[in-house]
């Protein structure tokens, strides 16, 4: 089985589905001839030509707006927003149009579009090349939001997303792009949207993460194991619709919960997860749930490694939560 990094896995998913289905179209800034700034769409232009792999002008609102229009008639556009920080010129199209089309047409029309976009920090990109805006889209009813942490999941989830009839925001953790290689089948396979995965079983504390932070959570789980704390690690994979049952089940076992995300704490997705767990498993909680997150500041150019909720911040949170005595 070939070894792929996340860039190659996403590329493989796109290639697979473009071969399967002529309705799949890729569009975005420099996605064609150049193959994307992260080279995720490399080779697609040569194989599928410029009417299916489209280099657009610099116009995010136009990219997403036209993708919506295509999708209404059954095409399956996969627009790329070069960095998720550049999604805001298209925010209106996503929130006002893509998210509400099905609802306002009484279910008559759907928008089967997948917006692919690199997310998160770790490349010293500063304010506008590092943010994690996922909760803005989760907050908007009508959108699915996916964020794989590894190459295998990325391919399977992207294939599911393209085949899904709803608009999907597909966040690719850019810090992981070339950092991890693993076995990824050349052939097609899917991973269902809406299913989290327990990636490490444990007894004492549950830690939930996604994207690049999943690896930090795993590293912390290893670290605290040396101190006799057994952490259960959940990779959320799909953020919305959220697989809350998997989290709740775990919390019923451990009684303790730590949530990790790069986005700022205030109204980050951790806040929603925490509320849901409190609603569904209040009596099982044995310690106050904890969020380890980015600060409530813009994403900094300097001090990036302090801002990110990395292992050095997750480990103490796990220890304190696991050892908390009411």
């Amino acid at each position: 089985m070939p070894q792929m990094n996340l860039v190659q896995a996403v590329n493989s998913a796109l290639r697979t589905e473009m071969r399967n289905d002529e309705d799949v179209i890729v569009l975005g800034e420099d996605v064609g001839k150049v193959g994307g700034v992260f080279r995720v769409t490399q080779g697609l232009f040569d194989e599928f030509g410029d009417d299916r792999v489209i280099d657009t002008p610099l116009a995010e609102g136009g990219i997403i707006g036209t993708a919506i229009g295509m999708a209404l008639y059954g095409l399956r556009p996969v627009p790329e927003i070069q960095f998720s920080d550049f999604i805001f010129p298209a925010f209106d199209q996503i929130v006002s149009e893509a998210a509400k089309f099905r609802y306002r047409s009484g279910g008559e029309y759907t928008v089967p579009m997948v917006i692919r976009t690199p997310v998160g920090g770790g490349i010293r990109g500063g304010h506008y090349h590092s943010q994690s805006p996922e909760s803005l889209f989760i907050h908007t009813a009508g959108l699915k939001v996916v964020c794989p942490s590894n190459p295998y999941d990325a391919k399977g989830l992207l294939l599911s997303a393209i085949r899904d009839d709803d608009p999907v925001l597909f966040f690719e953790p850019k810090r992981v792009y070339r950092a991890v290689k693993m076995d990824v089948p050349e052939d097609e396979y899917t991973i269902p949207i809406g299913k989290a995965k327990v990636v490490r079983e444990g007894e004492d504390v549950t830690v939930v993460g996604w994207g690049a932070m999943l690896f930090e959570a795993l590293a912390s789980a290893d670290e605290v194991a040396e101190e006799g704390v057994s952490a259960e690690v959940i990779d959320l994979r799909t953020l919305w619709p959220v697989d809350i049952d998997t989290i709740v089940e775990s919390v019923k076992k451990t009684g303790r919960l730590v949530i990790v995300h790069e986005a700022p704490k205030a109204c980050g997705f951790g806040a929603e997860l925490l509320s849901l767990v409190t609603e569904k498993a209040f009596v099982h909680l044995e310690a106050p749930p904890v969020r380890v997150t980015g600060w409530d500041t813009p994403f900094p150019y300097t001090l990036e490694m302090e801002y990110l909720p990395l292992q050095h911040r997750i480990t103490p949170a796990l220890l304190e939560t696991a050892k908390y005595i009411p």
């Binding site: 500041t297 001090l303 911040r313």
Partner: protein, 331 residues
């Protein structure tokens, strides 16, 4: 009043400073002292220098992420720029902004912008302020040809044209938006047609001769200052490096680059100076002085204190952030 030759010598000094600053920035980037993205201005120097020379104190300037050139041309010290690139507290944005987000209030520099098109309407708002207050200041707003496709550009120009604002939009057409040549992303090749659509004056010329840039931008600035409305200027130029340091620029041929380098604005100005009677010594002196200034800037930046966590938390809002973030950060 400086003679024509003296003025040109000063232009040369400013362009050479930008060139050498950028080269040293590239070196510092390769050494890992600068992180993230670094967009160099090499090849486009005549535009920043010519345009800055058309301004007077109080005028306001907005630029994209490719912002080192204009900052230096407006008078910011190389030291403040280099320190900003390295994320130091002595940087022009106290190390908070980095390469793409220079600011220099003292010289009217309103910022570099990381979001393409994000500054165009903001610049129009600054020009509105001048009209409203009658302060007779002019706003310059720079962007690339790629930016003329995004909505923010059109909304900004629309308002500026409608309100006849004292603003000059300068499109630095360096032929490529990242890896895509303009002919693949624009249905028209003469971008001043877009100005027409918003009822404003258009002008279009090559930006390799700093004197030409100065004269033509001055005409537009003077018109704006007299209350005769905005101008859109398209200036043909070329960047000698990739879009940013992480771009190997494989989408263009070596031959094309070599051809374009024949119009290096520094070489052109140097030739003009020699024809005007400047001696090799005059030029050498300038180059030596600039060299020293840039070296000193790098050294000062190397030695400066890193950006401060306190600035990071306290500059988010006028109202200070609550303690929870700081406590977490302190752990």
């Amino acid at each position: 009043m400086a003679s024509g030759r003296d003025a040109l010598l000063e232009h040369y000094r400013a362009m050479y400073l930008i060139r050498r600053f950028e080269e040293e920035a590239a070196r510092a980037y390769a050494q890992g002292k600068i992180g993230g993205f670094l967009h160099l201005y090499i090849g486009q120097e005549a535009i920043a220098v010519g345009a800055a020379a058309a301004l007077r104190e109080g005028d306001q300037v907005f630029q994209t992420y490719r912002d080192h050139g204009i900052s230096l041309a407006l008078g910011m010290s190389a030291e403040k720029g280099m320190a900003e690139l390295m994320g130091k507290d002595t940087g022009c944005s106290r190390g908070m902004g980095g390469s793409m987000h220079f600011f220099d209030k003292e010289h009217g520099f309103m910022g570099g912008w990381g979001i393409v098109g994000g500054h165009v309407a903001v610049a129009a708002g600054a020009a509105f302020k001048s009209k409203y207050l009658g302060d007779e200041n002019v706003t310059l707003c720079f962007f690339g040809e790629g930016a003329t496709n995004i909505g923010g550009f059109h909304e900004g120009l629309s308002l500026a044209g409608l309100w006849k604002l004292p603003i000059v939009f300068i499109c630095e057409n360096n032929q490529y938006a990242m890896g895509t040549p303009m002919k693949r992303t624009s249905a028209i090749s003469d971008l001043t047609l877009k100005a027409q659509g918003y009822g404003m004056h258009g002008d279009r010329f090559e930006g390799y001769d700093v004197k030409v840039v100065h004269e033509r931008v001055k005409q537009a600035v003077d018109r704006a200052r007299k209350g005769e409305g905005p101008t859109f200027i398209e200036i043909e130029t070329y960047r000698f490096r990739g879009h940013s340091m992480s771009d190997p620029a494989k989408y263009r041929s070596r031959a094309e680059l070599e051809e374009r380098k024949k119009k290096d604005p520094l070489v052109i100005t140097k030739d003009q100076l020699q024809q005007a009677g400047a001696t090799i010594e005059d030029l050498d002196n300038i180059e030596i002085q600039v060299e020293e200034a840039v070296k000193a800037a790098v050294k000062a930046a190397d030695d400066a204190e890193p950006a401060k966590e306190s600035v990071m938390f306290d500059s988010v809002m006028a109202t200070k952030l609550g303690p929870q973030n700081r406590e977490e950060a302190a752990r």
